[in-house]
């Protein structure tokens, strides 16, 4: 949370808050990292990766506090950076894993490459462009001697027509319900019931979900929603207790205890 502390109480708070709130302004996690890196105002090869990882993790924590849900890409990167951070802080080498230096170098390369492409894009757009800075003949005399073929049909038109056939065919085909991958409430109740006996004390509901549930898009959301409903069902049946410290704080559960 160093990022937040830095910002608090100084005159610089405003832009950082704006940065925090505007996750939609980034084209993904590397773009976000690149923005944070630019704030360090040093050459990308000399960037403090540790500082960058901390800033990113603070950003993601804050964004999740405000928005609850964040695209999986950002969370994957957060996990990656959390790992990198631990490797940078712990000198103890792990035999089978890439060294912290290798990981940091890979990240630096990603940042440099994206920065290079963003720069290239800007330079490309700044070129004298046809239709804006340079103009073609306004009144072409339409002499088809240039035409290799009698018809002016491009690959895009061809592919678009084919896509249209597919979409039309799909509309007139018999309706079939795709097999759902969503997690049902019944499954969630069964899973939660089975785990209740093993809970020593309060546990976060999210911690009880199957490992690796995040990052599965709609499936992940159905898992969370079904588990929450299941917890409510079990509470109603008197098998479980629920609590939450403040609005949007993690929901905690434990097995109902017999009152002494």
């Amino acid at each position: 949370m160093a990022f937040m502390e830095d910002g608090a109480g100084t005159g610089d708070a405003a832009p950082e808050e704006a940065l925090l709130l505007d996750i939609d302004g980034y084209e993904g996690p590397i773009d976000l990292l690149l923005s944070l890196a630019r704030d360090q105002k040093v050459d990308l090869t000399r960037i403090s990766i540790l500082q960058l990882a901390e800033q990113y993790l603070a950003f993601v924590t804050e964004a999740r506090r405000l928005r609850l849900e964040l695209a999986a890409d950002y969370l994957v990167m957060a996990a990656w950076l959390a790992y990198l951070k631990s490797r940078l802080l712990l000198p103890d080498p792990q035999p089978d894993e890439p060294s912290a230096e290798v990981l940091a170098a890979a990240l630096t390369f990603q940042l440099q490459r994206l920065e290079a492409m963003q720069g290239a894009a800007a330079r490309l757009l700044a070129r004298p462009r046809l239709g804006r800075d340079r103009f073609a003949r306004g009144a072409p005399e339409d002499l088809p001697i240039f035409a290799r073929s009698r018809h002016d049909l491009g690959l895009y038109d061809l592919l678009k027509a084919y896509g249209a056939v597919g979409s039309r065919q799909a509309r007139i085909s018999p309706f079939t319900i795709p097999v759902t991958e969503l997690y049902s409430i019944e499954e969630a109740v069964a899973r939660l019931e089975a785990m209740l006996g093993r809970l020593p004390d309060w546990a976060q509901l999210e911690a009880l979900l199957p490992a690796g549930w995040r990052g599965q898009g709609v499936k992940a959301r159905s898992l969370l929603a079904s588990s929450f409903v299941a917890a409510l069902e079990l509470a109603k049946g008197g098998h479980l207790e629920l609590r939450q410290e403040t609005a949007f704080a993690p929901i905690q559960v434990r097995a109902r205890r017999e009152q002494a």
């Binding site: 005399e141 088809p144 001697i145 073929s149 084919y162 249209a164 597919g166």
Partner: protein, 194 residues
């Protein structure tokens, strides 16, 4: 004098670019506005003179100016191929289906499109040099199949038929609805589909 010359030169360049890029002949009054205080007529006269013997000439008619190809070149520019006609949607779809499903019979094309294909559609594609008859299918009635030609690949800049984008590519490019499958021939089992 040098300044004046430079300025005239730049104004003539500007007039040249305006007249080149304009879709319509441009009224002299409009051109006058673009060059400001300098009288436009002598500038236009210089430009006209510059192009007098070239392949394109500057011509005025009804107080409006335009570049035109020189009249004496008319014969050599005359069209050898008739004017390009826009292909009908039926023709474009039929071509796409042949490209993806070849060799494919006319009945199969109709089954995919869901409507009858007029005889003229295949003729147009054959005249364009993009499709040709392939082998006959060894099924009852021995129907003719259709395939694409090498001109087809040339025209669309494809190295080979394998370079046609697949279903995932089309979907990712936004050309196929997310839920829609690749068009398929009804009644024919397609590999990879349940």
């Amino acid at each position: 004098m040098s300044d004046l010359f430079d300025s005239d030169f730049q104004l003539i360049r500007l007039l040249e670019a305006i007249l080149f890029s304009s879709a319509e002949p441009v009224a002299e009054s409009v051109l006058q506005e673009r060059v400001g205080a300098v009288p436009v007529r002598p500038l236009l006269a210089q430009l006209e003179n510059l192009y007098r013997h070239r392949g394109i000439n500057l011509v005025a008619s009804g107080g409006r100016w335009a570049f035109r190809t020189a009249a004496d070149l008319g014969d050599r520019l005359r069209t050898e191929i008739e004017v390009t006609a826009k292909l009908s949607r039926a023709a474009v779809e039929t071509l796409a289906i042949i490209a993806y499903h070849q060799p494919v019979t006319r009945a199969e094309i109709e089954a995919i499109r869901g409507v009858a294909t007029s005889k003229g559609t295949l003729d147009i594609l054959m005249e364009a040099g993009w499709v040709m008859p392939g082998r006959r299918r060894e099924t009852p009635g021995r129907p003719l199949t259709w395939v694409t030609t090498s001109d087809f690949l040339d025209h669309f800049g494809l190295g080979s038929l394998r370079d046609l984008p697949g279903v995932d590519d089309l979907r990712a490019a936004g050309l196929l609805d997310r839920s829609a499958p690749m068009p398929r021939i009804p009644g024919l089992s397609v590999e990879g589909e349940g």
